[in-house]
Symmetry: C2
Subunit: 198 residues, 2 copies
C-alpha cells in the first residue's frame, strides 16, 4: 500500500509498549507531517540515547555516566539501600522524591519457570554490596505481585544473616499493582509504613 | 533524575499521538533494553522515512515515489476520484481493498474558525483535476462529522456545474466517527451504498 520505508517504520513502532499497529501508523503519519520538528529530532534523540546511556555498574540504573547520578551523589545515604525490580521502579521512586538512599536494580523478579533465579538477578552482588558499604537497612521495594512477594521472601532470608534491617514497602502498594504506575502519595505512604521482615 | 538524553527522548516520544509522558518513559526504557534490535533500527527507519517519503504532487498521498504508487498504477480508473480528508483515510480505504479509482487528499476539512478554507484544501486543484482527467464520478469519502459534512456539501456545490456524478459514502459510516478507525466491512458497505448528492 505505502512505501516500504513507512511499512518498516510502522512495524518497528508497533513493537513499542502501548502502540498497536493502528496507533503506530497514526504516529508515523503524525511524524511525516512534522518531519523537521519531530521526526528527525526523534531519530537523533534515539541515536544519542543509544550511544550515551548505559547501565550503572554499581546499581543497574540507566544514565549517561557510570557510576550513575544517584550513586555519585555524596548527599545520598550509602547505608540505606532500596532494592527494585526494574529501572522504571527506581525512576518512580525518584519522581516521588521521598528516598535519599541508594538503589539496587535486580532487573526482574524470581521466576523459576522462565529460568530467572538468584544468579540472573545478581543476588550475590547485592549481598556483597550490603557487606562492603556496611548497609544498615535494605528496603525491598518490589511490587505486591506473587513474583514480587516471592522475591522479597527469598531476599529477606538471604539478607537476615548479614545483620542489617530488612524492610518491605508497607500499606499503599495496591495488591497486584506495579510500582511504576503508583502516584507519589501512594509511594510516600508505602515508604513511611514499611514493615520490617528480618 | 535521569540522563538529559533520556529526558529529551521521552519528551519527543510523548508528542506522538497515543503516548503520554508515562507511556513515553516506558517506551524509552523498552528501547534501551533492546538497543540493537529496536532503538537503533528505529532511529534508522525514522531517518530513511523522513528522507524518502514525500507527498504525491498529484493526489497528496505519502509515498517514496512521485507520483505515488496509486497514481502510477495503470490498472486504476483515473475517471473515478475518491476525495478524503487525510492520508490515513486513503490508507484505510486501501486496506479495505474495495476501491479501484484514484484519490485526492484534501489535508483536512473546512474549518472557518481555524482559517481552513477552500484554498488550504486545494479545492481549485480538485476541480481542475476533475476537468483534465474527465472524471465521471467524485466520491466524497469524508467522515460523518459536522466538519466532514460541511465540506461534503461545499464540494458538492462546487462540483455540480462540472457535470460529473458526485456521491458521498453511504450507510455504514457511524455518526461522529472517523474513517481511519473503520473496519473493512463497514467501509465496504459504505462504499456500496454511496448516495448521489449532485
Ligand atoms: Zn548507580
Ligand atoms: Zn498520488
Amino acid at each position: 500500500m505505502a512505501a516500504v520505508e513507512i511499512d518498516r517504520l510502522v512495524r518497528l513502532l508497533s513493537r513499542l509498549p502501548g502502540l498497536g499497529p493502528r496507533s503506530a501508523q497514526r504516529a508515523a503519519l503524525a511524524m511525516l507531517k512534522r518531519r523537521d520538528t519531530l521526526m528527525l529530532p526523534l531519530a537523533d534523540a534515539l541515536r544519542a540515547c543509544a550511544e550515551a546511556v548505559h547501565p550503572c555498574s554499581r546499581c543497574g540504573n540507566l544514565d549517561s555516566t557510570d557510576p550513575c547520578g544517584v550513586c555519585r551523589d555524596p548527599q545520598r545515604d550509602a547505608r540505606t539501600l532500596c532494592v527494585v525490580a526494574e529501572v522504571e521502579d527506581l525512576w518512580a521512586m525518584e519522581r516521588a522524591g521521598i528516598f535519599k538512599g541508594r538503589y539496587q536494580v535486580l532487573g526482574g523478579t524470581l521466576r523459576a519457570l522462565d529460568g530467572i533465579g538468584p544468579d540472573e538477578l545478581g543476588v550475590d552482588r547485592l549481598l556483597g554490596r550490603v557487606r562492603e558499604d556496611e548497609v544498615r537497612e535494605v528496603i525491598l521495594a518490589l511490587g505486591a505481585t506473587v513474583d514480587g512477594q516471592t522475591t522479597s521472601h527469598y531476599l529477606a532470608e538471604r539478607l537476615r544473616p548479614l545483620g542489617c534491617t530488612v524492610s518491605r514497602l508497607g500499606h499503599g502498594v495496591p495488591i497486584g499493582g506495579e510500582l511504576t504506575y503508583l502516584d507519589e502519595g501512594t509511594l510516600d505512604a508505602a515508604l513511611r509504613s514499611r514493615q520490617r521482615v528480618a
